[in-house]
């Protein structure tokens, strides 16, 4: 017997696992895919570190361990706890985003980092799962039998727009895009009317050129778009860029020079010579693609595919709408992060400055990605609890 959300609150905390409600195969598939990805990422980062004659891959092991422990904790915890704390997470995150604008450390003309008790972190990484929880809570409480329309979506859109706008001001275009994409994914999953969806999409596409004209887009972002446009054409303007501003183009060369089978470990020319800036963070895919080639890349993307598919399967095993939406949102976080990053490295988008999940170096990014996977797995581990 099951009851609507909020019925048997006390039993959600300590319900025993029964044999019938053991984790499904999807959970194991997802776990295997995740662990393989993490190991591939660490190995790849070790090579990238050796190219740069540094040893940040050792630090990364620490981040991965912390991230996995956190993910396990989140996966095993009762979501009920999160549900209750959701407003605190979300509004706390918003407060942190405001605080980072006021007191944040300025790096490269952007205020993204904040230090609390000597530990630096990005509030924008924290807001992503918080937003997912907030949206899930909204849709759980306000569930409507009809498909949602623009009017009924006003509040969730506001919940997305608030942190997205604050992140844009930092400025961190990439993360803002991920936040918006995650918000849309959850709304889409909950069922948005096609017409409303198209109107929304059209409005955003219309706003882009206006934002460009009104200088709401930063000059350096415009420059990146120009570099990207020049890169994808053979116009003379593109050739003028030969001498400088070649980072995205060089990333393409590194990827392409991997050919079918790759150069092999520690043989990447572009990466070894540190020609590529950010090669162990945002552009880590270039290092991987150069060493492992097309075959390695297909393997990598299939792994991601398996992870996303299995996590989606796990998501709908949740016994409540809240759990489903949290899991789906968590998958969306990792998925869009990957898509925007890979699109940038492969020259499909202008440079937006995002890390690649499980492959890029960095504490905040690694922990946040693993945390998201933990959230997604939660649904599969609690499906049987009543």
């Amino acid at each position: 017997m099951s009851r609507p959300w909020g019925g048997g609150a006390s039993r959600w905390w300590t319900g025993p696992q029964t044999a019938a409600r053991r984790p499904s195969t999807a959970v194991f598939v997802a776990l295997v895919a995740l662990l393989v990805l993490v190991v591939v990422g660490l190995m790849n980062l070790r090579n990238a570190a050796l190219y740069a004659s540094e040893s940040f891959h050792q630090t990364q092991v620490l981040w991965v361990v912390i991230g996995l422990v956190l993910a396990a904790a989140v996966a095993l915890m009762d979501l009920r706890l999160f549900e209750r704390l959701t407003p605190f997470f979300y509004w706390g995150g918003v407060v942190l985003l405001v605080a980072v604008l006021l007191f944040g450390r300025e790096v490269n003309n952007a205020r993204r980092w904040m230090a609390i008790g000597g530990v630096a972190f990005q509030p924008s990484e924290f807001i992503k799962p918080a937003l997912v929880l907030m949206l899930a809570r909204f849709f759980h409480a306000e569930r409507s039998p009809e498909r949602y329309t623009l009017r009924t979506l006003m509040r969730p859109m506001g919940l997305v727009a608030l942190p997205a706008g604050l992140i844009l001001i930092e400025p961190d275009l990439g993360t803002a895009l991920v936040v918006i994409a995650v918000g849309f994914s959850v709304m889409f999953f909950e069922g948005i009317r096609l017409r409303s969806f198209l109107i929304l999409l059209g409005t955003i596409l219309l706003l882009l050129p206006i934002a460009w004209r009104l200088d709401l887009i930063q000059p350096y972002q415009k420059e990146r778009v120009r570099v990207w446009l020049a890169m994808s054409t053979t116009q003379p303007e593109g050739r003028k860029k030969l001498d400088k501003g070649m980072q995205p183009e060089q990333a393409l060369w590194a990827v392409g020079s991997g050919r079918v089978t790759g150069k092999g470990g520690l043989k990447g020319v572009q990466s070894r010579l540190k020609v590529l800036p950010e090669m162990h963070t945002d552009f880590i895919l270039a290092t991987f693609a150069e060493e492992r080639g097309f075959v390695g890349c297909v393997f990598l993307f299939v792994l991601y595919g398996v992870l996303f598919a299995s996590l989606l399967m796990v998501a709908v095993q949740a016994r409540e709408r809240f759990g489903v939406l949290v899991s789906v949102g968590a998958v969306a976080i990792v998925f869009w992060q990957l898509v925007f990053n890979a699109g940038m490295v492969l020259g499909l988008f202008p440079v937006v400055g995002l890390t690649m999940p499980f492959l890029s170096y960095g504490g905040s990014a690694t922990i946040s990605s693993l945390f998201a996977v933990g959230l997604a797995l939660n649904a599969g581990l609690h499906r049987g609890q009543v």
């Binding site: 099951s2 001498d243 050919r259 020609v275 097309f294 996303f308 709908v316 499909l348």
Partner: protein
Amino acid sequence: MTSLSGERIEYRTQVLWSLIIVFVVLAILIGRLFMLQVVRGEQLETLARVSHVVREPIPAARGTIRDRNGEILAVDVEVSDLMVVPRYVKDARGEVGLLRDLGVLDAAQAEDLIRRIEETGAGPKGFQWLLARPNLVGALCPYDQERMTFDPSRGRLVCTACGREFQDQRAVVQSRLHELPGFSLRTRTARHYPARDLAAHVVGIVNEVGAGEVRRSEGRLKPGDLVGRSGIERALDDALRGRPGENVFVRGAGGERLDPKGLPPPFNELESFPPRRGQDVTLSLDLSLQKAARDALSRHRSGAVVVMDVDSGEVLALYSHPAFDPEPAVLRGNSGSVTGVDAILSPLVNKAVTPYPPGSVFKMVTAVAALMEGQADAKTRIECRGVLEYKKRLFRCHQRSGHGEIGIVEAIAASCDVFFYTLADALGLDTLAHYARDYFGLGEFTGIEIPERRGVIPTARWYGRLGRPPYQPGFALNVSVGQGDVRVTPLALARAYAALVNGGRLLRPRLVRPVGDAPAGTERTVAPEVTRVLDLPPAVVRLVMAGLHDAVNTEEGTAYPARIKGLRFAGKTGTAQAPETRPGADEKTAAWLKEDHAWFVAYAPSRRPRVVVVVFVEHGGFGGQVAAPVARQVIEAYYAEHADEFADLWEDFDAEPILDIVPEVP
């Protein structure tokens, strides 16, 4: 009541769509990877070998500047400097000792270098270049920068011009560089001015561009480029500089040099191109006349000489005294620099294009104005009693005893002030200014290529504004004899007198011969640039020219002592009161500054004139005594140089009466 399974069913479509989206997006990414790695893989792999594009500028030689006879006035020379990076020096004493033994450094220089290497070697500047010894003796003689030839029998270089012998320091150092770790040779271009101070004001100087200029030039200039700062070097800078070439190649990821031709687009379209040499410039200047001007002025503290061809407007000499040495310090070497010039004499100011009060040389303008306006003619006689009382003010003649009753020709010759005061009263200030400016171009820019200043020709309206004193009628009298507020440049006077004697053509004085013209020797073939043609009736010109002739060639004339017998010249003296004070002047200088300016404007020969010579001696004293002899010396040099052309003139120069020599207005 919604069941657990019901919830799952509710989301089935969404899961399906989500999976489709995930796999389509991942497929697009894999498709892109296929494009990059499989389809374009080979091309991109070639590009991946590229690290960056290197563009090495190849400097363009600056154009050479020559005088009309082909004498070099400014030319690029290569200079080799011995450089050292202190931190790379293994054994400072040993290496510097070797350089001393090789004859590159003397004992004092060696000690100084060891000290500098040891001082900076340990410090933060240890990896920066240090100039060990500038301008090693190489292909050019250190004394005159002339070519040297190698004499194998003695193993030494011999200067083709002065015959001095030198050791080839550059070659010696080059061959021993392997024993001199840390040392290296650097070649750079320096601008050499063989004529030194002789044409410094005309030719001007160059120096390195500043950072701000490089920014403003939008890529036209690069750090280290030389740009003209004054004179012709500045006026024709763009033509002289040429265009640097560019050596383009691609640096590979391993630091190796890749040929762009073997790379895929766009690299295979990169092209190197050679530098384009700056244009050579030939000046109208005649270095021997320039030298005559310098020699003639050398007795005086300060002054200027301008020699201009009356038919073409070509400036044959333009010398400002004292001059400065434009040679860059590194090239001066041991050849004795022109130093010790008193800054109070403004050696950097080109006095030939600086306005001064002209004194009586202005009377030519007053005479022409009076004759044109009908206030005087050949029969006019005015009595000079040495002073003229005008509105209760006394205007004195320079000859206190007076000139008696004289006509206009004698008045010009004897420079009678009272005569011209009287005419000026009738003419008025504005009429005088009209003739000075609108006819003879005084107070206007002459249009010469080098930077010049404009004089002042005051009018009634000119006064009373901008803090100037209010106009008074007596000002016309002052102006008529070149006093008061009139200021003209020697060059403008040359142009004005040339217009008087060449048939009324006011010319633009020119220093640069047309581009592409080979040195034209002493030919007078250049077509003049006429600013305007003056409507001067021959009768007027004859009267004034007669006066100018008599000023030099009759006993009553103010310049009689400076006359040349035979091939006579004519002219007008000027003595302008211009007492001044300058900061920092000692007693002797202060006394000098109280003296009058001495002027002489001559044309020669007095019949069918070919050149105008303007002499200005700053605070020199009487024009007839001081400036006229300078002009005479310059004219003699001109005659000597053109002796063959004047041969027939010498025969019967006096046969024709002076007043019949006026050329017709074309």
